[in-house]
Amino acid sequence: MNVIINGSAHELPSGATVAQAVLKLTEAGSGIAVALNDEVVSRGAWDSTTLSEADRVEVLTAVQGG
């Protein structure tokens, strides 16, 4: 299935989790947060939250600013 991770289309196996989507970008364990279709998915729920076709996943981190 296709999901949108940080604005780009990625192919993931059906039933893939948020944790698998994050691994497409980084293996960093800390300093990042995930929104699935504009709702925060807490780190503890990454493994248990499954994705659906065309879901939008945003993986954010802190950058210089302000």
């Binding site: 940080n6 970008l25 980084t26 947060a33 954010l60 210089q64």
Partner: protein
């Protein structure tokens, strides 16, 4: 002199809050942060870039500086609330510098969206520090809504125009029961000193340091200016007079 800044129950001995935007490299940023003596520093939240090397978070952690995520780039309360929640998740802090702008050209804060977001974030347990115009009425309303501080601008972000309306800043200070942090518009050290002389509890600045020709030296200047302005405020300045008042005896 023991003169701590207290925000949301937390103590800071430095009254200079730094931003991290605009520094040409993490090394330059690191040197500037150290020279500034800051204990609280803002970061922005953006999409993770797998290609980027090194993180501003590593710099802050190594220096023991508390991180203050902002919601820069948000135009609506909804975006700001989501960004704050993501920052809380990523950075394990419930502090947020709430910033909801109205347009790209001025980057001026949108008071309606900012107030809406502040109410929602306070209800969600955040320590909210809202960036606002120099509006005494809005500052009072945000304090009543439960914000931990208010952050009026001196001038638009990155403009370096200093404090355009010192009178309004004084009015905000007079009425405030929470810390007033002058945010945005600082161009050079005298602007930071003036903010403190007007009674602000702290100054937040980034561009004035990070885009100075020598960021570390400007950071040092800002540190000294904030301390000098604070001391002058506490010392109590003399009244302004129209005519001279002799400081030497006038009779032989």
């Amino acid at each position: 002199m023991d003169d701590d800044l207290i925000i949301g129950g937390e103590k800071f001995s430095s009254r200079l809050i730094m931003g991290t935007g605009g520094a040409p490299s993490l090394e330059v940023l690191d040197q500037a942060l150290v020279a500034s003596g800051t204990e609280l520093t803002t970061v922005a939240m953006r999409r993770l870039d797998p290609a980027s090397r090194g993180s501003v978070l590593d710099v802050l952690r190594a220096r023991g500086i508390k991180v203050l995520p902002n919601t820069a780039g948000c135009f609506t309360a909804g975006e700001a609330v989501l960004t704050a929640r993501l920052a809380r998740e990523a950075l394990e802090t419930n502090w947020v510098k709430l910033e909801v702008i109205s347009d790209e050209r001025t980057l001026l804060p949108d008071p309606i969206e900012t107030f809406d977001a502040a109410e929602r974030l306070v209800a969600d347990g955040f320590v909210v520090l809202p960036y606002i115009g120099d509006d005494p009425a809005l500052a009072r309303r945000l304090e009543q809504a439960g914000c931990a501080a208010v952050m009026p601008l001196g001038a638009p972000i990155g403009s370096g125009l200093g404090i355009r309306n010192p009178h309004n800043i004084e009015l905000i200070v007079e009425a405030a029961g929470v810390p007033v942090i002058l945010d945005a518009g600082i161009g050079t050290a005298s602007d930071a000193a003036l903010a403190m002389e007007l009674g602000c509890d702290a100054v937040l600045l980034a561009t004035a340091v990070t885009r100075a020709q020598r960021p570390d030296l400007m950071a040092e200047a800002m540190r000294a200016a904030v301390r000098a302005g604070r001391a002058a405020r506490l010392a109590g300045r003399i009244p302004r007079r129209r005519y001279a008042e002799a400081s030497s005896p006038t009779h032989p």
